[in-house]
């Protein structure tokens, strides 16, 4: 049942004009896609995956242009088409959806107007027909009550709904090909599951081909038929999805798949890493672009760029190892290298169940942000960002805090650090209530608790040298000054795997992963006992994320640190945390040690959350619990159990009574009425 090819990209090369002249954003991208097929283009930041998508549509910014290659669509070469002609194809035959649905809809027009617009451009409809089509489309993408919703503005919708509107626009003219550029990256995992489900269903209904651009291997495994792996602007591997995950042919693909933590990853072993970071466009390595980071690289890899070798079952790989004549050279390296042994195992956890000693105790902590209105700024309500949270952190342990955006997990972290003031409840550190600390005492206490942030860009002051950044805490506490200060900064840099010579550099000279290491070094300067890691690896590329996770584990062993690890990524939390708290709308709904939470999730929300996470393994087709709707507004939380509006098991009691925390087994607590 060979299906017809609808788009074939051949040797596509796109260049961008920069201050330093032209640089290649993508080079020699080649692939095809058939009718009804889903092809995933997967790669890390800077791999050129989005540029590829935009080049097909000729939607590049004015500084970018296609330098060579072909994009054949229905026997037309899109790369050479005039602006006028490509406009007839855009939206009509090839449509596109983008990553951030907030910024991708015009904020000044209603969604009905924006859907109508594409119909007006391509189809000759009477106003009544167009009206009907808009309502049809809204219904199709699962936006109920279209008659009123069409008059909503984008800012009045949730992220998930906005992405549904984007899909409605894309599918309005029934295109043959849909290009989805990171369509679910900006969304929460439960909403992602909804959107992926919708895309699949629409594809089944209309037979649309989908090019799915993503960095998430889980999404790839779930959606794709075939996969194009891109690295540094070029295709390194092309394969069917099953073959790719079972037997990756390119070292990059192999390393990438192995570096993602999964539910079944051994927590005691370090993660596989890819050393270094993705090269920037200006510093492209010679030869094979992956060679500086490749475990197998030999002489030839550094000198000559490999061609795309075609392998059996329609696969290809851009690696010299696939060149039969060179097999000998690599044989040697494959034999001597045992990949696992080269990465040092982290020391055993300082934390063991036997010697639990409480470091921090949170009791019924609340944070209400007032909603002010009127002339005198009267308080008319409150956003209950954190609404009665209790947990404890033991010495040397990692406590994971997971939940979707807006659940209050970051606020919790900041409350513990006293970066925000608590509305009610208490936080005891070493048995003393933190609220009692004032002035000097508070300053002393701050030495013991530090924070690592998500965004490696805004977390370092761009005007300060790395030495000044890291040693600022030393200066504040008068621990060290002058050359001693700089020497300490150098030591801290070495501790996090950078060079002590870096103290005189500025933040812009480092990559995201390196900046994250600098952020960690700064947090360690005062020799703290507790680190709050607020989405500390979420902004990093997968290959770099593993490095940082390993570093955090290593430091914990060496320095007997305790972590509060806040994340939305369940698999990452599973890997790093000893125990996990699941938050929903300002409350903890379930607490358990990580193994128990994953093997025996009990709260309906935890179960839904776990089932929503795409697994980077296409052979697993798990039963998915799709939650309806979005997270409610924390300013107006539902009565009773806050989750009852989305819970398929909700009963009468859930609407009226707030559930108590019930002990399931030792250390496993659940707040749900349905559990006995």
């Amino acid at each position: 049942m060979e299906k017809s090819t609808i788009l074939s990209v051949d040797g596509l090369k796109t260049v961008f004009q920069t201050r330093h002249g032209y640089v290649d954003a993508i080079n020699d991208i080649t692939f095809t896609i058939s009718q009804g097929e889903t092809v995933a283009i997967v790669g890390e930041s800077g791999s050129g995956k989005s540029v590829t998508a935009l080049s097909i549509m000729k939607l590049l910014e004015s500084s970018g242009q296609i330098a060579s290659g072909q994009v054949l669509f229905n026997d037309m070469n899109l790369a050479e088409l005039s602006d006028r002609k490509i406009r007839d194809i855009r939206g009509k035959q090839i449509a596109m959806i983008f990553q951030d649905p907030m910024s991708c809809l015009d904020p000044l027009y209603t969604i009905g107007d924006q859907i109508m617009e594409i119909l007006k451009i391509h189809e000759d409809l009477t106003p009544a027909e167009a009206d009907n089509r808009v309502l049809e489309l809204l219904k199709l993408v699962g936006i109920p009550d279209g008659e009123t919703r069409r008059n909503s503005y984008p800012h009045e919708l949730s992220g998930g709904q906005r992405q549904r509107v984007m899909i409605a626009i894309a599918l309005a003219c029934r295109p043959n090909l849909l290009i989805a550029d990171e369509p679910t990256t900006a969304l929460d995992v439960t909403v992602q599951a909804q959107i992926l489900g919708l895309l699949k269903q629409l594809q089944a209904d209309f037979g649309t081909s989908i090019i799915l651009v993503t960095h998430d291997l889980g999404v790839v495994a779930e959606m794709a038929d075939r996969v194009i792996v891109v690295y540094s602007g070029t295709v390194v591997e092309q394969s069917g999805v099953h073959e790719l995950f079972s037997k990756p042919e390119h070292p990059y693909t192999e390393a990438l798949i192995r570096s993602i933590p999964r539910a079944d990853t051994d927590r005691t072993a370090p993660l596989h890493i890819i050393r270094g970071s993705v090269p920037g466009l200006h510093e492209m390595p010679s030869g094979c672009r992956f060679h500086p980071r490749c475990d197998y690289a030999t002489e030839i890899c550094t000198q000559q760029e490999p061609p795309l070798f075609h392998l059996e079952s329609d696969r290809s790989s851009r690696c010299w190892m696939k060149d039969g004549s060179l097999a000998k050279e690599f044989q040697h390296r494959l034999n001597t290298d045992n990949l696992d042994s080269r990465h040092p195992a982290p020391p055993n956890d300082a934390y063991t169940a036997s010697k639990k000693e409480i470091l921090l105790e949170v009791h019924n902590m609340q944070k209400h942000f007032p909603i002010l209105k009127g002339i005198l700024s009267r308080k008319v309500g409150a956003v209950k960002a954190v609404d009665g949270v209790s947990f404890e952190i033991f010495k040397g342990e990692t406590l994971g805090l997971v939940g979707e955006s807006g659940c209050g997990k970051s606020t919790t972290g900041r409350l513990i650090l006293r970066l925000l003031d608590i509305t009610d409840g208490e936080v005891k550190y070493g048995g003393i209530n933190l609220a009692e600390f004032k002035g000097r005492q508070l300053k002393e206490q701050r030495k013991k608790m530090q924070i690592v942030f998500q965004d490696p860009y805004s977390s370092l002051n761009p005007r300060m040298t790395i030495g000044d950044i890291i040693s600022e805490p030393l200066e504040i506490h008068r621990i060290a000054s002058g050359s001693e200060k700089i020497r300490r900064a150098g030591e801290l840099l070495e501790m996090v795997g950078l060079s002590s010579k870096d103290v005189y550099k500025f933040p812009h000279q480092f990559s995201g992963g390196q900046r994250q290491r600098i952020g960690i070094a700064r947090a360690l300067a005062t020799e703290p006992e507790l680190l709050v890691c607020d989405e500390a690896v979420s902004a990093l590329d997968v290959s770099v994320q593993a490095q940082i996770l390993n570093l955090l584990k290593k430091l914990q062993g060496e320095l007997a640190l305790s972590y509060l690890f806040i994340s939305h990524d369940l698999n990452v939390v599973k890997y790093i945390a000893d125990r996990i708290c699941v938050m929903y709308l300002g409350k903890i709904v379930e607490t358990a040690d990580s193994e128990t939470l994953f093997t025996n999730p009990t709260h309906p929300y935890t179960r839904a959350l776990l089932s929503s996470v795409p697994v980077p393994d296409p052979t697993i087709k798990k039963e998915r619990i799709i939650l309806e709707g979005d997270v409610p507004n924390p300013a107006k939380p539902p009565s009773g159990c806050a989750f009852h509006t989305r819970c398929e098991h909700a009963k009468e009691i859930c609407k009226s009574k707030i559930p108590e925390f019930k002990q399931m087994s030792l250390g496993h607590k659940v707040a749900c009425h349905l559990i006995n």
Partner: protein, 316 residues
């Protein structure tokens, strides 16, 4: 909505109060007072005469008492009488404000009509010679002092065309042609720097919006460039332009002082100028109040325009 209006009015009143008390107090604390000025031509004056004039003008009370009196009267609409001409201040202002308002209105209209299209054109033809030319003219317009430009225009028209704007002032309703002949030059001069800044803001704001993600969505729909710019980019780029116009109206009103004096137009600019030099307290206070009120009105119009353009900025 009602809440919003009340909140705005309260803020407005606070601002006006701060403004007027500053003017009120500073004027009376700074050396050189109106009594001395009025008696300066009378030769030798006795203490009694001074005291008498002082109480005649109501200046014998403490500053606070004067301020309270004035505020009480101001609330009822009585802004006092000029200390020199003894005319009610409200009458003086009513006579002159139409001139200034007409001038400002003509200047703003001209500036908008010229500058916004020029800004759009400049952005669309980015980095072409015409874009460069528009930008050069714009920055030149910002740098040329308007009173010098006014003098040059007069010299140029009289030397080469022998034309001088008709002297005196006629209101638009009594003689529209003469009125326009008198007003067109000063309005043009005032419009120069305003349009220069509007051109620059329109251009840069439009270029910035053209980089926004949603513009790509619209292009991905297959829309023509005209639709992209005229329907989407332009409207999205108007907010900063309107903010700028709101702020620049202040500059423009300030500029009227000097332009009115060059073209001998009897507006409130020249009223306050005379008032300050002669220490005519009630006139100055009332005129400042009028400027403050104009500023509030402009702000209100700007806010309404925001809401009209951007649904996110509509008060709920």
């Amino acid at each position: 909505m009602v809440n919003y209006v009340i909140k705005r009015s309260v803020y407005g009143l606070i601002v006006l109060l701060i403004m007027i008390s500053f003017v009120f107090i500073v004027m009376r604390l700074v050396p050189g007072d109106v009594v001395a000025l009025q008696l300066s031509g009378a030769g030798a004056v006795s203490e009694e005469q001074i005291a008498q004039l002082r109480s005649e003008l109501g200046l014998d009370k403490s500053v606070w008492a004067q301020f309270l009196d004035w505020t009480k009267n101001a609330v009822t609409g009585d802004l006092g009488k000029s200390l020199w001409s003894k005319m009610p201040v409200t009458t003086l202002i009513a006579e002159r404000i139409t001139v200034t308002l007409q001038l400002a209105f003509m200047a703003i209209t001209m500036a908008i009509l010229i500058a916004i299209p020029a800004g759009i054109y400049s952005a669309m033809k980015r980095n072409t010679w015409i874009d460069h030319m528009i930008r050069v003219i714009a920055i030149g317009g910002l740098s040329i002092p308007n009173f010098w430009f006014a003098l040059l225009l007069i010299i140029f028209l009289s030397l080469f065309f022998g034309w001088i704007p008709p002297l005196g002032y006629q209101s638009f309703f009594s003689n529209p042609i003469v009125n326009l002949q008198q007003m067109i030059l000063p309005a043009l001069v005032l419009a120069l720097s305003l349009s220069a800044s509007i051109v620059r803001m329109t251009r840069s704001s439009l270029l910035e919006v053209l980089h926004a993600d949603f513009i790509r969505t619209i292009r991905a729909k297959g829309a023509k460039e005209k639709l992209v710019i005229m329907k989407h980019a332009l409207r999205n780029s108007l907010i900063p332009v309107i903010t700028l116009i709101g702020l620049q109206v202040g500059f423009l009103l300030g500029g009227t002082v000097i332009i009115e004096s060059i073209f001998s137009l009897p507006g409130i600019g020249s009223l306050i100028f005379e008032g300050v030099t002669k220490r005519d307290y009630p006139v100055v206070q009332a005129t400042v109040l009028v400027y403050g009120a104009l500023f509030m009105i402009v702000n209100l119009i700007v806010d309404i325009a925001y809401g009209w353009i951007d649904p996110r900025m509509r008060p709920d």
